[in-house]
């Protein structure tokens, strides 16, 4: 939410971290192509913004973003255009890793290293490095938080609801699987599952109906803090508070809610868009043939998975600066 006055200027400084090593000294010039899905959603918008902000930190990087789109066909064309323009390195967040695989491979074959962000290409020859979050791990984290808490309370046969993002995305399916697996270790399972569309409004609508379907709820996991605003609004509208809720992604807004402790939102599991900043940094290093200064290796590693962390009232202070404004 942009209207928190104190946070208005935050995004750039929070994510475009400039470390103190010589890797940040100007090097050879790098033309960096960037393609991501349409920024019609807070998390993706944060990705685009972080990438751009990070690139701006470097005088030696020429950042070339192309039209973000949710149409695979168009994203393929966009990447083709970047290949034609002979950029030095590509940062790609594909709409669907499998569908963009061929064109990513084409880029690699043309000698352009691809930094694969978030949604992974199935073919290892299609990217030089992958940076992304752990969707399965995210589900696991949420599952453990909910499972443990209910177990401690001694609730038998709890009603656990899950509100997914876009159901057709592989990442959604990974998250759900992790969630179910973690719950299983406590002997619990998901009572009902519905998908919203990552938007506030569909969050309201789906939650509004779900709350009617279940008169007594013990816990809700909502995959995405952006749509979570809508979910919370629906909960408020229905006047319900007998349960607790866990969010996903880790928006600043959700963290502030957790901090205030006034609502049902108790925790959120992170899936941070800061990975875009990291990807840009890595892409630059790859293009310049450098390694990561904290590692002994001469080159950037092949894959980097961010851990999904659980933010609760106890540790929220530490995470707030990393929360993205949805």
């Amino acid at each position: 939410t942009s209207n928190e006055p104190e946070a208005a200027a935050a995004p750039t400084q929070q994510t475009a971290a400039v470390g103190g090593t010589d890797n940040d000294q100007p090097g050879t010039r790098v033309v960096m192509g960037f393609s991501a899905p349409a920024a019609d959603h807070g998390w993706i918008a944060a990705i685009a913004k972080n990438a751009e902000a990070q690139a701006k930190q470097y005088a030696d990087v020429e950042f070339k973003p192309v039209e973000p789109t949710n149409d695979i066909n168009q994203q393929i064309s966009a990447v083709e255009t970047l290949i034609q323009a002979k950029v030095d390195v590509l940062v790609l967040l594909p709409n669907d890793g499998e569908q963009l695989n061929q064109v990513a491979r084409k880029a690699m074959d043309a000698g352009i290293p691809v930094v694969n962000l978030d949604r992974v290409f199935p073919d290892k020859l299609s990217y030089r490095t992958w940076v992304g979050g752990d969707n399965y791990g995210m589900g696991v984290a949420a599952g453990h938080y909910i499972g443990k808490k209910l177990k401690d309370k001694g609730v038998a046969d709890p009603v656990i609801l899950e509100i997914q993002g876009i159901a057709t995305l592989p990442l959604t399916q990974d998250r759900s699987k992790g969630f179910a697996d973690a719950l299983k270790s406590y002997g619990f399972s998901v009572t009902a599952q519905q998908d919203a569309k990552f938007t506030v409004e569909s969050g309201t609508q789906v939650a509004g109906n779900l709350l009617q379907a279940h008169k007594k709820i013990d816990a809700i996991w909502n995959h995405d803090d952006d749509q979570g605003i809508g979910v919370l609004a629906a909960i408020k509208e229905a006047g319900r508070d007998e349960f607790f809720m866990v969010g996903g992604a880790g928006s600043a807004n959700a963290m502030r809610d957790i901090q205030s402790g006034s609502g049902v939102l108790e925790a959120t599991v992170t899936y941070s868009p800061t990975m875009a900043s990291s990807a840009v940094k890595l892409a630059r290093l790859i293009a310049q043939g450098k390694g990561m200064s904290d590692l002994v290796e001469n080159q950037v590693p092949q894959s980097i998975t961010l851990a999904s962390e659980t933010v609760t009232k106890e540790n929220v202070q530490a995470y707030l600066p990393l929360g993205f404004e949805s």
Binding site: T1, S2, N3, E4, P5, A39, D40, H41, G42, A45, A167, A192, Q193, Q194, D195, K197, T199, V200, E201, S202, G203, T204, Q205, V206, G208, N209, L210, L211, Q212, A213, H214, K215, D226, I229, G230, L232, A233, A234, K236, E237, A238, G239, N253, E325, S326
Partner: protein, 317 residues
């Protein structure tokens, strides 16, 4: 007169039957949740956003046009009304702002259509695209929360009178006023003429262009009101609000028996059509169907509802 009433009834009979059938399914499959008053309230609250838009859309379609921009205009209005600048003037100004933005967007589109003589489909498509873009720019693609001091807006959704949230009353008011305007005023009756036979309307001395423009302004106005409702329900303004509302609203209007070619249709039909859609979604979620099955079932139900409605229509001849 009685004949007319009978015809009207028959016209909606199929829809009413479809609605009752769905309700019966609800009562059977979810006996303890479906029929509860809180579920019915929730259905009405859900229906109210698109409901308000559907009223405006009914006018536009009867008048021979189409408005694809409704969802985007609603989003723009919600964003404009929740910028920090607007919010600093308090909830009344926010509401007025939403309504003005909606009406303004409608006027612009209507002007291009009537005086620029451009096809409504294209103009409102362009408006859709541009309004979403503008909303994104304005909000910097962020979700704008309503500040605590303006919670009067949110209370439209949380405050209840006689068990119903205030926004349901807004919805009802829009429907009633829309019905009155369409059926009891010269503006409404002329809308049928403008849509059914624009040349005849012109020959009868009606200012077809001005009238057309007003229809789109009216639709925009409804989007503005819908923006207030969505702000109340989600506690936010966002450029993502109202995605694909145009399809839902048009489908409701057409299931309700309004001709896409204009000149014929009713508000009641549109609202019944919309309630059918809302009920379908509610039933699915109560029964925990997954989205894929929901979609398949929805397709089938739409076809069945229309078949039922056609029977109703035919029985009158």
């Amino acid at each position: 007169m009685t004949l007319l009433v009978r015809v009207r009834e028959a016209r909606h009979l199929g829809l009413v039957v479809a609605l009752l059938l769905l309700a019966a399914v609800g009562l059977i499959t979810s006996p303890d949740t479906f029929g509860t008053s809180s579920n019915l309230v929730s259905i009405l609250a859900l229906a109210s956003t698109i409901g308000v838009i559907t009223v405006g859309m009914t006018f536009v379609i009867i008048g021979g046009g189409i408005d694809l921009s409704v969802g985007a205009v609603m989003a723009l209005a919600s964003v404009w009304a929740t910028t920090l600048a607007t919010q600093s003037y308090g909830p009344v100004v926010m509401a007025v702002c939403a309504v003005l933005v909606g009406t303004g967007a409608g006027l612009v589109g209507g002007f291009l259509i009537s005086y620029g003589r451009m096809v409504p489909f294209i103009v409102t498509l362009a408006m859709l695209v541009a309004a979403r873009g503008l909303a994104q720019r304005m909000s910097d693609r962020k979700t704008q929360l309503i500040q605590p001091e303006n919670s009067a807006i949110v209370e439209l959704s949380t405050t209840r009178v006689l068990g119903l949230p205030l926004l349901v009353y807004i919805f009802a008011l829009v429907v009633v006023v829309g019905w009155l305007v369409l059926n009891r005023t010269t503006f409404g009756r002329r809308t049928y003429a403008v849509g059914g036979n624009p040349e005849a309307a012109r020959l009868a001395g009606i200012d077809v262009r001005r009238h057309t423009m007003m229809l789109y302004a009216l639709s925009g106005l409804c989007c503005g009101i819908a923006a207030i409702i969505i702000m109340a329900r989600t506690t936010t303004g966002s450029s993502t609000h109202g995605d694909l509302y145009e399809l839902d609203a048009i489908a409701a209007v057409i299931i309700g028996g309004t001709l896409l070619t204009g000149g014929r249709g009713t508000i009641i039909g549109s609202i019944l059509g919309l309630l059918i859609f809302t009920l379908i979604t509610n039933l699915f979620i109560l029964n925990g169907l997954n989205t894929s099955d929901q979609l398949i079932a929805k397709g089938l139900i739409i076809v069945i509802a229309v078949l039922l409605q056609r029977r109703g229509l035919e029985s009158r001849t």
